[in-house]
Each structure stands twice: as structure tokens, then as C-alpha cells.
Amino acid sequence: MTITLQIDGKEVKAREGMTILEAAQEAGIEIPTLCYHEKLKPYGACRICSVEVERKGRVRIVASCGYPVEQGLVVRTRSPRIDRIRKVIIELVAPTTMVDGDVAGEIKKLAKEYGANIHRFKSRFRAKPTRCILCGQCVRYCDEVVGEHAIGFVGRGIERRAAFFPEKARVCLTCQACFDLCPTGKIPAETDFVVFDGFSIDDYLAGKL
């Protein structure tokens, strides 16, 4: 069934079951993402793809990667409210991804686009910068696509982090499928050469845990 909705003033046709993000991408409308991957189930963790939706006069902010298209839905992918959300999200994750005083990759691009001050909360960031924004692409790719479950989340709240499971990490030496997914470059930068969370895969394999 075809669904017609409006995105940024443009009439867009979509199929039932599609998300706003997918419909927008098909229509050539760009919405930024950090945790989205087309092969993976919608996850909704980075919230950078937040958009405004209007239905029956009621405006809501939703994550476009998970919100299913609806007939007659009005979507705005840019507005002062949305731009502020994206700006603050980048400002909040910047300190943990900072290497030598600057951010890189997708974060840097978005910071520029939304006028985020990457140093705004730097003095308030007292944790160890991990370079990881916990988008979970590596974890979910390993679960959903590779099927190895070699990497997962540990800890809760502000202590949450991603970690390789040593019993499983043997496959990582040859797989390395998650390396290209990482939006901050943490995994290739740290895992391949030296450490990931203090241990290299060799360390894990050598039973040094």
C-alpha cells in the first residue's frame, strides 16, 4: 500500500512499514544519522535523526529511524528545535570522542553543519574519553548480520561501554566487519593495533584477562 506524506514541504510516496528515514532517503532528503545502518534493526540511540512530526495539529519530536510512515503525516527534518537538538547532542558527545583537541569523522561534519561548540562541555567532562559514542553499530552488526555476538555492552547508565567478549574474540582477527562501521574510528584505531578497553584481541586470546 502506498502512503503519501509530506517531508519538508515535499510530497513523498512511501510503502507501508517504511520509516520516515527510509522514505526521506528514497526521496533524496538527507537526515543525519549516527547509529543507523540499513542492514540493522532500528535502534534509536543517537537521536541525531530526530525530526518534527505533525499529526492532527499536534507536533512531536520522534526518531525518524524508528517512526513508521503514516498517511498524511507532515514531517520537518530541519527547524530551530531540531537544529538545537542536533547541536546539543554533538556538544554532549564531543568530549568523549576528542583526540588531540579535535573531533573527527561524522562528528566533525555534524558539528560544522549545526554550529556546535565542541569545547562547550569539555571542562565538565571528567570521565576517561573513550572515543566511543555507544551507537552500537558494531555490537548489533556482530549480532544481527555476522551472528557471532563477539562484542556487547557492559555496564549501565554513564558507565555503559562496549567490550569484546574474550571467549568470542577469536573470530575477530579474520572478520573485522565492524571496523568500517564505527562513526568515530575507535575500533580500527584502537583494536587493530594496541588495545580495546585496555586489552587487545591477542591479550584476550592469550588469556590475560
Binding site: 537521536r47 519530536i61 547532542i89 565538565r124 567532562f125 549501565r156
Partner: protein, 643 residues
């Protein structure tokens, strides 16, 4: 035990009559509260001693019976013992009081004056618990049966008419009629959100997909809140009966009760209740001969505060990590195992048998336009009568805190009340006459929440309060989405800095910026509401934030880094009390020699301030102004001449 399965309404009624007929009309029952709070005071031993003592003093079991009940609610005065039928209430009962209670009150009907509750205002001793102001102003339709029932014995619940609502629903009503009654009652979810229960049920009922699940959310975790625990511990059958009725209305044959791991008594009692209900045939196949079948399992949660969020809780029951998922398709339509799932809070389910029995009209006669029925609150913090209270919706916060709570201890001034736990906000004095109502509390920037109510007095710093709740969420959030995780982390650091006198220009704006983005963009309700304590304290107490940041002053004199202790040499009588009580030996002086505090050694524990007799009031807390120099070494006390 091997109880006979009941297969009709008639058999249930006969059983009830049989239970009642075994009780002598002249029997005396001594009930001992064995809720978690009273148990920590040793109430279980008190109960056992009653049972032994009754035997020892030669009283017959049929005439005098000791009963261990669930929480009565008056936790401040625990252990609580109530003697029926006279309703004589003894408070703060000790093990050694038991023989006397048995010989005096149970045997001779004589009241022991010293064990009665003493009204702190009038100084009067009050014998019967319905006359105690704490109870008198409540309306205990849901919670009230706790004091009559041994939660581990189903017969006590049946004797009070238990499971008659189930019988009525299954045998006299269609599922549609049951649903209609709940819809008409305007019951709203007691877990916090206040979503109309009937509409939720209807959505699950009409959603395609089998099986459908019904779930009890007993993952209560707000700081200071224990309403659900006490209900689940004290009257598990009421929750169970409501759940079975709901399952019938919805068309579900499988239910779960999610009880947090930290509530061992609640989960034990629930498991026991399920076993007993199965024996009588209130669970299983063909319940009461109706043809309707339903089974329920207890799931012990080992999660965090966030596991109380509906999608997280359902993931946890599935055996996965308790983390929220996007729910643009409601869990009522696609929840556990992607099947229609109806999740309600403990208190919501416990209201169902009442509404089924007494009707929607009766329920609508209680409460306000938008919020019907009663609400159980755990009244804690700086209030005289801490405990669990149930009041009709529409009662004002002032009545709750003053008429029931007995006001603020030590004559201090009320400052604010935090409702709704970490997701709620603080409400200042000017709104104390606001009626308790889902929508009214939301308008103030707070929320009803599940019922946690923390009262704060003038000594509480509002910035520190915000910091406390934000820190709580830093650990109890799942950490999945960026606005919640990084927003909380950054808010905590900013608020800690402000409390420590390291606040900067622009901090208030940063807090607002982060908080509003968290509200707009977080994945689940924990994240969208987690900044409420910061936002409401800012809204109502902005001046306190500014004092901390600009003047490095804590107006409540609570933030240690901004407060110093000083002994006024003019007022000090060298009584040595603070000197002896100081844990770090920071106070110098001796008999007749004015005391002074060595600032480097002072850890600001507030002990000297508390122990200095009020008639001297020599210890002062100073914030935001320079500390006067200590008196010259060996300054002697100048005593006023007696007139």
C-alpha cells in the same frame, strides 16, 4: 493442603461462609504489622512472642489469635500492633511489652496507656487507630485491607469478600462489560503516566496477534517510595484478582508479575498467593466453572530503575537486558515477544476488583474531574508522620503534608515537596493548595509519578536536591541514548560544581539547554523526564542557583563546600557538649573557656550545630560571608548575672 477446587459462585460463597463460621464472634485478634519497615524493627519476633505468650498464658486459640499482617502504613511508629475488634493501636511496641499486652489487654481488656500513640500537638494519647490523625484523614479503599489480612493465607482474603469480584466478572459479565466498567470508571495508571487503563486494555484486546499478555509492574524503584512493595507484600491476592479480571476482559491467558529482586518478601508472598489461588481454582483451567483459563508466573527482576519502563521490563521478562526500545507502536499492540501486551502497575491492578464489585459510578464519586479514585503515597523526608497514606484524589498537598503528615519536624519551615521521584519535580510552598491530580501536578512541572513524596524543609538546598536526583539517574539509566546518558553526565558535573562553589557564568543556561534537549529527544520516559528535578528547582528556586554561582553562597547552608561552622563567643557558655561530640576533635576549649572551631579539621558534619542546646544557639552556620576570627586564646565565658 489440597484445597477443593471451586467450580461455581455458590461454592465460593459457601467457602466464605465456612471460613467465617469457624471464627467465634467474641474472638480477639492481635495483628502485628510485618511489613518490611516493621520487620526491620523486629516485628516478626514480636508476632512469634505473641503466639507463644497466648499459649503460655492459657488463652484458647479460638478466642485469641495472633496474626502477622502486611504493612499498616504508619511506619514512623513501628512496630505497630492493632487489637481487634476494639481497634486498640499500640505503637513502637517492644518484645518485652508482649506479655503485658497479653495479660492486660487481651485477657482483661485493659488499655496500656504508655503504648498508645501520643499526638505531638495535643499531647493526648489516642487508643483507637481510626482516631489517630494520620489514619483519620485517609481514605483506604485499596490499602486498608492490609491490616486485616495475613498475606500468606488466602482464606483471610476470601473472608473479606476476596475473589467475589472475579466471580462476578467471570460468571455474570461478558469481557466487554468488564472492560466497559473499567473504561467508565476513568481509572488512570498508577505507575506514573496516568494513561487511561480502560483504553489500554481495549487496545490490547483489539490488537491482532495471539497470545496476548497481561503484566504487573512491581519494579518500583524511586528513592523513598514503597507503595507497590507494601501492597504486593501485604495483599497480593488483591493484585492477582485484578490481574485475572483484566486478563478475562482482554482475552489473555498468560500473565507475568515482575517483582524486583530487592523485594524478597513481596515475591515470596506473591508466589505463595499464586499457589493458593491455583489450589482453589482461581487460576488454571476453567476458573470457577466459567470456561475461562489463565496462568501467571512471577518474574524476579534483576535490573535497574529503568527496567520499570514498559519496553525494558518486557525485554527483561524475555530474558534480555532490561533496556527500553522505541515504542512508536505501543506495547499494548506489540509488546512482549512482539505480541499485544497490557502492562499495569500494582496499584492499578489492585483497583480493578473494587471497581468490578462496586461499579464505575462508585469509583467516579471519589476524586477530581480528571483523576478518579484514591492514590497511595509514601510520605517521607522532613515530615513528622512518615509512612504510607492513601487519600482521595483532589486532596491538597497541604492536607497531605500537614493533616496526615503532621507537618515539619522541630518547627522548621516547609520548603518544597518532591513528587514523582526522579522523574518528578519540586513543588514550592505557594502551590501547597494544589489538589493532588494527574494534570494539576504536571502543570506545575512535576508529576504524580507512582507516589513517592519527599518533603523538604528550610535546611534543604535545592541545587543539591537536583544534583541528588540527577546522580540517581546517572546510575539507573540504561545509558543507551545520547541525550539521556551524556545529558545526565554533564548535568551532574555542572550541578556538583555549583554545589562546590565552582559554578560558572552560563551554567544556568547550559542546564536549561541540556534539560530541554533531553525532554525533546530522549528515547524513553526515563530520559525525557530525568531533567525535571533540575528544571523545577530552577523554575522555583533560581535565586538559590544564582547565590551559589555568583556569591558562592548556599542559602540553605547545606552545601559543605560553601558553608563554615562558627561558635559565637558571646553566646558560648563552654558547656563542652559540642566539644565532646565533634568527631574530628576540631573544637577547642575547656570548662569555662569559650569554644572555637579549627576550620582545617572541621568536616562540616553539622553535629555541633545539632547538639548545641537551643537556649544557647551558639553554633552558627555561615555561607557567603567572611568567617569572623576565633576568640583570643583562653577567652573566658562571660556569664549573665541572674536577675
Amino acid at each position: 493442603m489440597g484445597n477443593q477446587k471451586l467450580s461455581s459462585a455458590k461454592e465460593l460463597e459457601e467457602l466464605r461462609k465456612e471460613i467465617l463460621s469457624k471464627r467465634r464472634p467474641d474472638r480477639i485478634v492481635v495483628t502485628v504489622c510485618t511489613g518490611t519497615a516493621c520487620q526491620t524493627y523486629g516485628s516478626l519476633e514480636i508476632y512469634r512472642k505473641f503466639a507463644n505468650e497466648i499459649k503460655k498464658q492459657g488463652l484458647k486459640g479460638a478466642v485469641v489469635e495472633a496474626k502477622a499482617t502486611g504493612c499498616h502504613g504508619f511506619c514512623e511508629q513501628g512496630p505497630v500492633v492493632v487489637i481487634f475488634p476494639q481497634e486498640i493501636c499500640y505503637v513502637k511496641v517492644k518484645l518485652e511489652d508482649v506479655p503485658e499486652i497479653v495479660s492486660a489487654t487481651l485477657t482483661q481488656g485493659r488499655v496500656i496507656e504508655r503504648l498508645l500513640y501520643e499526638d505531638p500537638v495535643t499531647g493526648q494519647r489516642i487508643a483507637k487507630d481510626p482516631d489517630i490523625p494520620f489514619y483519620k484523614n485517609q481514605m483506604r479503599i485499596v490499602f486498608g485491607n492490609n491490616r486485616y489480612i495475613n498475606p500468606r493465607e488466602i482464606d483471610g482474603y476470601i473472608a473479606l469478600g476476596g475473589y467475589s469480584a472475579l466471580s462476578k466478572a467471570l460468571l455474570q459479565m461478558t469481557p466487554e462489560q468488564v472492560l466497559e466498567e473499567i473504561k467508565k470508571s476513568n481509572l488512570r495508571g498508577r505507575g506514573g503516566g496516568g494513561f487511561p487503563t480502560g483504553i489500554k486494555w481495549e487496545t490490547t484486546k483489539n490488537a491482532p496477534g495471539e497470545p496476548k499478555y497481561v503484566i504487573v509492574n512491581c519494579d518500583e524503584g524511586d528513592p523513598g517510595a514503597y507503595m507497590d512493595r507494601s501492597l504486593m507484600e501485604g495483599n497480593p491476592h488483591a493484585v492477582l484478582e485484578g490481574l485475572i479480571i483484566g486478563a478475562y476482559a482482554i482475552g489473555s491467558h498468560e500473565g507475568f508479575i515482575y517483582v524486583r529482586q530487592e523485594y524478597p518478601i513481596a515475591s515470596e508472598n506473591t508466589i505463595q498467593a499464586i499457589k493458593q489461588a491455583e489450589e482453589y481454582g482461581f487460576l488454571g483451567k476453567n476458573i470457577l466453572g466459567s470456561g475461562f483459563g489463565f496462568n501467571v508466573k512471577v518474574h524476579r527482576g534483576a535490573g535497574a530503575f529503568v527496567s520499570g519502563e514498559s519496553t525494558a521490563l518486557m525485554s527483561a521478562i524475555e530474558g534480555k537486558v532490561g533496556e527500553p526500545k522505541m515504542k512508536y507502536i505501543h506495547t499494548a499492540v506489540s509488546g512482549m515477544k512482539e505480541r499485544p501486551s497490557c502492562l499495569n502497575n500494582v496499584e492499578t491492578w489492585a483497583n480493578v476488583p473494587l471497581i468490578t464489585n462496586k461499579g464505575a459510578e462508585w469509583f467516579n464519586s471519589i476524586g477530581t474531574e480528571g483523576s478518579k479514585g484514591t492514590k497511595i503515597f509514601s510520605l517521607v523526608g522532613k515530615v513528622n508522620n512518615t509512612g504510607l497514606v492513601e487519600v482521595p484524589m483532589g486532596m491538597t498537598l497541604r492536607q497531605l503534608i500537614y493533616d496526615i503528615g503532621g507537618g515539619i519536624p522541630q518547627g522548621k519551615k516547609f520548603k518544597a515537596v518532591q513528587t514523582g521521584g526522579p522523574s518528578g519535580g519540586v513543588i514550592p510552598e505557594q502551590y501547597l493548595d494544589t489538589p493532588i491530580d494527574f494534570d494539576e501536578l504536571t502543570k506545575l512541572g512535576s508529576m504524580m509519578g507512582s507516589g513517592g513524596t519527599v518533603v523538604m524543609d528550610e535546611d534543604t538546598c535545592m541545587v543539591d536536591t537536583a544534583r541528588y536526583f540527577i546522580s540517581f539517574c546517572c546510575e539507573e539509566s540504561c545509558g543507551k541514548c545520547i541525550p539521556c546518558r551524556e545529558g545526565l553526565r554533564t548535568l551532574r558535573e555542572i550541578l556538583s560544581d555549583i554545589c562546590e562553589g565552582k559554578g560558572q557564568e552560563g551554567d544556568i543556561e547550559a542546564i536549561e539547554d541540556i534539560a530541554e534537549v533531553m525532554q525533546d529527544a530522549s528515547l524513553c520516559a526515563l530520559g525525557t523526564t530525568a531533567a525535571n528535578p533540575a528544571l523545577t528547582t530552577l523554575k522555583y528556586f533560581r535565586d538559590e542557583y544564582e547565590a551559589h554561582i555568583k556569591e558562592k553562597r548556599c542559602p540553605a547552608k547545606a552545601c559543605k563546600a560553601l558553608t563554615s561552622y562558627y561558635i559565637d563567643p558571646e553566646k558560648c557558655t563552654a558547656c563542652m557538649i559540642c566539644f565532646k561530640n565533634c568527631p574530628t576533635e576540631a573544637i577547642h576549649g575547656s570548662k569555662g573557656i569559650v569554644h572555637w572551631i579549627e576550620q582545617e579539621k572541621c568536616i562540616k558534619c553539622n553535629t555541633c550545630f545539632e547538639v548545641c542546646p537551643p537556649r544557647f544557639s551558639a553554633v552558627r552556620r555561615i555561607s557567603g560571608e567572611p568567617l569572623p576570627p576565633p576568640p583570643a586564646h583562653g577567652t573566658k565565658v562571660i556569664r549573665e548575672k541572674k536577675r
